[in-house]
């Protein structure tokens, strides 16, 4: 049975990957014209580049640029909020046509998307630290907990270079809150975003004590398949025109950004006139920009050898990008993800049983009002979606605790406690039901510590169903930056774009973990039933 199950699953996965491969081959620009609307992904949490105004609308430097591009292309505009983690993913799956979302140009990303030249902005990397932090060089951060935002291209580079213990959160908002609540000593992020954050009164005391590093230009991105397409050309022309006309410099001023030397240089470069009276930066016969108009600054690609080279060979031959096997950084990230998921799974099973038993014993203790109180709490707890519970405890209660007592609440602990509470509430009812049945059989039965095994034995099937469900839900910990399996996999996908392989491996491993738990409980059940005197 186990064998055939795995077979069925592998078959399903193969089918799904086939489905995924069927991306439209036609030129995207035709599809866009048919639709009449350009769909652009912009940031919602990166003021002043992309943010929400008081009405919840997306506004900022990048939404303005998007509107300008749509206008030049003669199209309507639809803005969609994206994050650093999902922007290239959404592009690849076709949910959006264009990404204008503070995307740094790296060789890595050029492999998974088409990046438009010329670039429209530049930024570097620095850290934001609270007033008291004593940091004078990057070396001071070695081995320390540093908050980071998932999907930022520099996370891995900086972690390896300075041996940072990165706490990776899923968005800028969450990283910001984590820094404020003292979950880390500094937040590693783009210098442009940190500079504008410091303009807010709440953050005026915070410092950016370290020099910016890894300066990289920002590019508009379209899908990898659109390389050399008419869409690429139209967008590149529009950006070049925005440099020439000074539109980008105006937008910079409009959004109160400090004047960047990059935009000044670019305007100069793109308006230069050659000896023949023609602009130097015009398209060559090949359709390319002349070399002197292109940006020379590029990050060097990593050195390749050994297992890594072997992995790249597999990718060239089969298209399977197994970064989590050959890339040491990804491998350790991935293995840690599996290990954390296993720990979380065990913690949730034990926690749910503990909450369930404690609740049932309290309800049956005979102390007046206690039964009603436990019953009401458990009934409400059962109706609270665990994801919301995690948000409430992590962001809401976690913040109160840190401001009152100075304790930081660990994400792993929050996830384990919330999921245990949720499943524990259902367990209480399963045990109370069992206790009622036992009372029917033996009128003198009362639920006590000693008689608990009897009730557990009777309620075995429903309780195990509850525990299996909580095991299936452990992935929710990923929403609060616990670096478990889903977080590790999506981080790898954001960096390498090997969606098909990673997501299938993730699904398979998670499924096997659930199956393993199911089997484990089946074994326990057999043992228990054998020992059962009835």
């Amino acid at each position: 049975m186990r064998h055939s199950l795995t077979l069925v699953l592998v078959g399903l996965l193969a089918f799904a990957s086939l489905f995924a491969g069927q991306a439209a081959r036609a030129e995207r620009l035709d599809l866009i014209h048919k639709r009449g609307i350009l769909i652009v992904g912009v940031k919602a949490d990166y003021p002043p580049f992309g943010m929400r105004d008081a009405n919840g609308q997306l506004v900022g430097f990048e939404p303005d640029l998007a509107a300008e591009l749509a206008r030049r292309l003669g199209l309507g505009l639809q803005l969609t909020a994206v994050t650093s983690t999902n922007r290239l993913q959404k592009l690849a799956e076709g949910a959006i046509d264009v990404v204008i979302a503070t995307l740094g140009d790296t060789p890595q990303r050029r492999r998974i998307a088409t990046l438009i030249e010329p670039h429209y902005y530049v930024s570097g990397v620095t850290v934001l630290a609270p007033p008291g932090a004593r940091l004078s060089s990057w070396a001071d951060l070695r081995g320390r907990k540093v908050c980071a935002t998932q999907g930022a291209y520099f996370n891995r580079e900086m972690a390896q270079r300075h041996l940072l213990d990165l706490q990776v959160f899923s968005g800028a908002r969450d990283s910001r809150l984590a820094l404020r609540d003292g979950r880390c000593i500094a937040w590693l992020y783009d210098d442009t975003a940190l500079a504008s954050l410091r303009l807010e009164s709440d953050w005026a005391d915070y410092r950016t004590p370290l020099p910016s590093t890894l300066v990289s230009p920002w590019a508009i991105a379209i899908a990898a398949a659109e390389s050399g397409s008419r869409l690429e050309r139209a967008l590149a022309d529009a950006v070049a025109e925005a440099h020439r006309s000074g539109w980008l410099k105006d937008a910079e001023r409009r959004w109160n950004l400090p004047p960047s030397p990059f935009l000044a240089d670019a305007q100069q470069r793109w308006t230069r006139i050659g000896a023949d009276g023609q602009p130097i930066c015009a398209r060559l016969a090949s359709g390319e920009w002349p070399a002197e108009c292109r940006d020379a600054s590029r990050l060097t690609s990593t050195e390749v050898s050994g297992l890594h080279r072997f992995g790249l060979l597999i990718r060239e031959r089969t298209g399977l990008d197994l970064t989590f096997v050959y890339d040491p950084y990804d491998r350790s990230q991935f293995l840690r993800g599996i290990w954390l998921t296993v720990q979380l799974l065990i913690a949730c099973i034990i926690g749910s049983l503990f909450v369930g038993c404690l609740g049932a014993l309290t309800a049956e203790s005979g102390i007046p009002f206690l039964r009603g109180w436990v019953w009401a709490t458990a009934a409400i707890g059962r109706m609270a979606p665990p994801l919301l519970l995690i948000y409430v405890v992590f962001f809401g209660v976690g913040h109160l605790v840190v401001t009152r007592f100075g304790w930081t609440v660990d994400g792993f602990l929050v996830a384990a406690v919330c999921l245990s509470l949720y499943a524990g509430c259902s367990t209480v009812f399963a045990l109370l039901d069992a206790s009622a049945v036992l009372k029917g059989r033996q009128p003198d039965f009362t639920l006590r510590w000693k008689t608990l095994p009897q009730a557990l034995r009777l309620a075995y099937t429903p309780v195990v169903a509850i525990l299996i469900n909580v095991v299936k839900a452990t992935g929710m910990a990923s929403v609060i930056a616990v670096p478990e399996l889903i977080s590790a996999s999506t981080a790898i996908i954001a960096e390498h774009g090997n969606t098909g392989v990673m997501i299938n491996v993730l699904m398979l491993i998670y499924f096997l973990l659930v199956l393993l738990t199911v089997r484990l409980f089946a074994v326990i059940e057999r043992r228990v039933l054998q020992r059962d005197p009835h």
Binding site: V8, A20, K90, E93, M383, P385, P386, H399, V514
Partner: protein
């Protein structure tokens, strides 16, 4: 923010949140419908005479039961294209439908198991016990409504995603606790009475089943 400020802000955004919650209910109903149909087929197969059919159904049911919904949600979000062209027309594959599909997997397993039991009761002439399927199915709908909050992680515009929009728009971190608690209130207020009602229906039906059984026993002895 003073408590009055908080209440005023929540009040202003209430229609927006309520609209989000309608999405949760829509997604859940869609998931129940999508999942129930294959569930019926699987349950029917389990009653078949041919062992191969029974085995296939059992394996598929166990598969459906054990697929972790939350991970499957990511799986579908990553792997199903968002738009596809068919016969010159562009069709969208909306995120809410992906969420409904992911949630429906658990429904398939649930319906297969419960309908199988109900069907056997029905065949045995025990109609009252078979009808217990109805409150059980509704009870499961509530579980799916709660699970539908996870659709926010793949960008569905439901209530939790709208909480994040509000927090970003208002720009006050201390509002987070209250917005999330308020959203939680929607789930509790919706699910609690329905779940109580279903339990009451179930208890009454069960009482009837027991009385029918005892009558039969009485007649037999």
């Amino acid at each position: 923010m003073t408590p009055t400020d908080i209440i005023a802000t929540l009040w202003v955004w209430t229609p927006f949140l309520a609209g989000g919650f309608l999405w949760n209910i829509l997604i859940s109903l869609a998931a129940m419908l999508i999942g129930t149909l294959p569930g019926i087929v699987l349950a029917r197969m389990r009653l078949a005479k041919r062992q191969s059919l029974v085995q296939t159904s059992l394996v598929t049911t166990e598969l459906m039961r054990n697929i972790p919904t939350f991970v499957f949600l990511f799986y579908l979000a990553f792997l199903i294209p968002v738009e596809f062209e068919f016969a010159g027309q562009v069709y969208a594959f909306p995120a809410w439908l992906k969420a409904a599909l992911a949630l429906s997997v658990a429904v398939v397993g649930f319906v297969s198991d419960n309908l199988y039991v109900a069907w056997r009761h029905w065949r045995a002439g025990d109609h009252a016990a078979a009808l217990l399927l109805i409150p059980n199915w509704t009870g499961y709908l509530l579980i799916i409504v709660m699970a539908s909050s996870t659709a926010s992680v793949i960008g569905v515009d439901e209530i939790v995603a709208r909480c994040n929009v509000i927090i970003a728009a208002v720009g006050r971190d201390e509002l987070m606790l209250w917005v999330y608690l308020y959203a939680m209130g929607y789930f509790i207020v919706f699910c609690f009475p329905l779940s109580r009602a279903m339990e009451a229906v179930k208890n009454r039906m069960q009482a009837r089943v027991t009385s029918v059984l005892s009558q039969k026993e009485g007649a037999g002895s």
